[in-house]
């Protein structure tokens, strides 16, 4: 808690909370960049599941840079939001659940990039059942990340450590 109080009282944290534009532009960027990351992952997952079957699976790799740029902005904007209200997120189990869901989904994405999307063998044939299950898991994980992210605004226990009695 002492560390949270110290962080909340730094000039930067106060500025993030109290300057309207700094806070809401971080929120806007976090939504937009999250949509980029999830969007590209959804497109790849849908293709693996057989949607747009004439698009070569390996060609979907062309869109992964969009997800990487999105991820960079997700991390920066998320970090800024965390600096603004560190206690609010870090004392809420839902935040760690979101983090785990995102990490697991990114792990799947990394696997696609290193293997599935490099291999042209699946370009024209139906993908094996295991690959389709992993694609489903990715969709579920992103949905979980979105839901828990949205719940962060509603489920926190402590807004600010420095406000505790």
């Amino acid at each position: 808690m002492d560390y949270f109080i110290w962080l909340e009282e730094t000039g930067f944290s106060i500025w993030m909370r109290e300057s309207g534009p700094a806070f809401f532009s971080s929120l806007v960027l976090h939504s937009l960049s999250m949509a980029m990351v999830v969007g590209v992952n959804v497109a790849i997952a849908l293709r693996i599941l057989g949607v747009a079957g004439r698009v070569p699976v390996s060609a979907m790799a062309r869109f992964t840079p969009v997800a990487y740029w999105g991820l960079a902005v997700v991390l920066i904007s998320g970090g800024l939001l965390l600096v603004a209200y560190p206690t609010k997120a870090l004392t809420n189990p839902v935040f760690y659940f979101k983090l785990l869901a995102v990490i697991a989904a990114l792990f799947i994405a990394r696997g696609w990039e290193k293997r599935l999307l490099r291999d042209a063998v699946y370009d024209t044939i139906r993908l094996p059942k295991k690959a389709r299950l992993v694609a489903m898991a990715s969709l579920v994980l992103w949905a979980a990340a979105i839901t828990s992210g949205r719940l962060l605004a509603y489920t926190y226990n402590v807004l600010m450590a420095s406000h505790l009695p």
Binding site: F24, L32, A35, N41, V55, R62, V66, T147
Partner: protein, 167 residues
Amino acid sequence: MEFVEALGEVGWLDAMMNSSWGWPAVESLHFMGLSLLVGTVGVFDMRMLGLGRGISISSMHGLVPWGVGGYAINVLTGVLFLVSAPDQYLYNPAFQIKITLMGIAGLNVAFFYCFVFGPAKAIPSDADIPLSAKFAAAVSLTCWIGVIVCGRLITYYRPPYHWCFWC
């Protein structure tokens, strides 16, 4: 407007949206719908802007029906927000701009299917993309990015606390 008010009075809808889980659950669905839209229509737009050369426009278009599904989810969930607190939206400048951008995106869809898609799907998969297709894709991406930004900003422009020069 009467329809909006009538829907707002449907008992179980009202109870759900005012419960502790209803609003965040519908918000989560709204974000999933938008991710589906960005992941299909957005990726299709990026293809037309030149990313993913080598993938034919017509095969890439196979993703788009799923985007229509995402759009449908978002109209449905969006209507739920609207009917639960109509005055928070109708007089909200962020919401008004969002609806305007959706209108432009809608006209752009009509323009795309009337004049652009026919010729664009006939070109070879690694040919240069016609300017009309690039234009439609740029309008689409810009509108949907704007829609997301305005959607997120709705909460900061709730009437009557916020001044707005045309409201």
